[in-house]
């Protein structure tokens, strides 16, 4: 599964994209974010506070408690600030 990061999440993690294979216990985006913390100090810092994160599954905004299911692409990022 591909995970994308944007804005300060991307900066702190140090990459905008990585391939991961989460274990069976990871069901939701929030589960994924918590599991990803162990990958590096940058991940731990970027994903420390779940309430500051928003997410998308297969390019659609979803709540962090959404089930990842068979998604091919998920994304974690701060609240959007366009316009």
């Amino acid at each position: 599964m591909r995970v994308l990061y944007f804005a300060w999440v991307r900066e702190r993690i140090g990459t905008g994209e990585e391939e991961v294979e989460p274990p069976a216990g990871v069901h939701t985006l929030a589960d994924l974010a918590i599991w990803l913390r162990d990958r590096s100090a940058g991940h731990a810092e970027a994903l420390a506070d779940i309430t500051r994160l928003r997410g998308a599954i297969d390019q659609r905004f979803v709540a962090l408690d959404a089930e990842i299911g068979a998604a091919r692409e998920v994304a974690l990022f701060p609240p959007v600030t366009g316009g």
């Binding site: 804005a7 905004f61 990022f77 959007v80 600030t81 316009g83």
Partner: protein, 152 residues
């Protein structure tokens, strides 16, 4: 007709308006957002989620066309680095009547603020900072929510 553009090139307002006027509508409304130089900002950088951004903008444009029977809706958002005084976003609508054009224009900029994956980073004399999302943007977007708009 819907046109959505996410592009690092400067936004050309005159040609966008001319294209909107070509639809034979009686009413054209537009909104242009300009980068402000407040608080010592010397450069604004816009990051986006390629693919998802264009799809999100098409979705809100289609909602506006259906809700206000628009002849055309245009959303142009600049990405990458830009300077104070430059245009960051252009919204244009064409309709038979003025309230449809203006209300749809308000809807589109409100929804764009909350429903499209863009992130702003301000460069100043000090370290760059990511712009925080605003709670009043959520409120502004939610005023357009009707029962019919909610997903099933």
């Amino acid at each position: 007709m819907i046109r959505v553009s996410v592009d690092p090139a400067p936004i050309e307002v005159a040609s966008e308006l001319a294209a909107l006027e070509a639809h034979g509508a009686g009413a054209i409304a537009s909104f242009t957002g300009i980068v402000r130089g407040d608080d010592g900002v010397t450069c604004l950088e816009l990051e986006h989620y390629p693919g998802m951004t264009e799809a999100a903008l098409c979705d809100i444009a289609e909602q506006a066309v259906a809700r206000w029977s628009l002849l055309s809706a245009v959303i142009v958002h600049r990405i990458g680095p830009m300077s104070p005084g430059e245009r960051i976003v252009f919204i244009g609508t064409a309709a038979q009547h003025r309230h449809a054009a203006l209300d749809a224009c308000s809807f589109l900029i409100d929804r764009l603020k909350t429903d499209a994956p863009f992130w702003k980073r301000e460069v100043t004399d000090r370290s760059p900072r990511w712009v925080a999302a605003r709670a009043d943007d959520d409120q502004a977007a939610s005023r357009w929510t009707r029962s019919a708009d909610r997903p099933a």
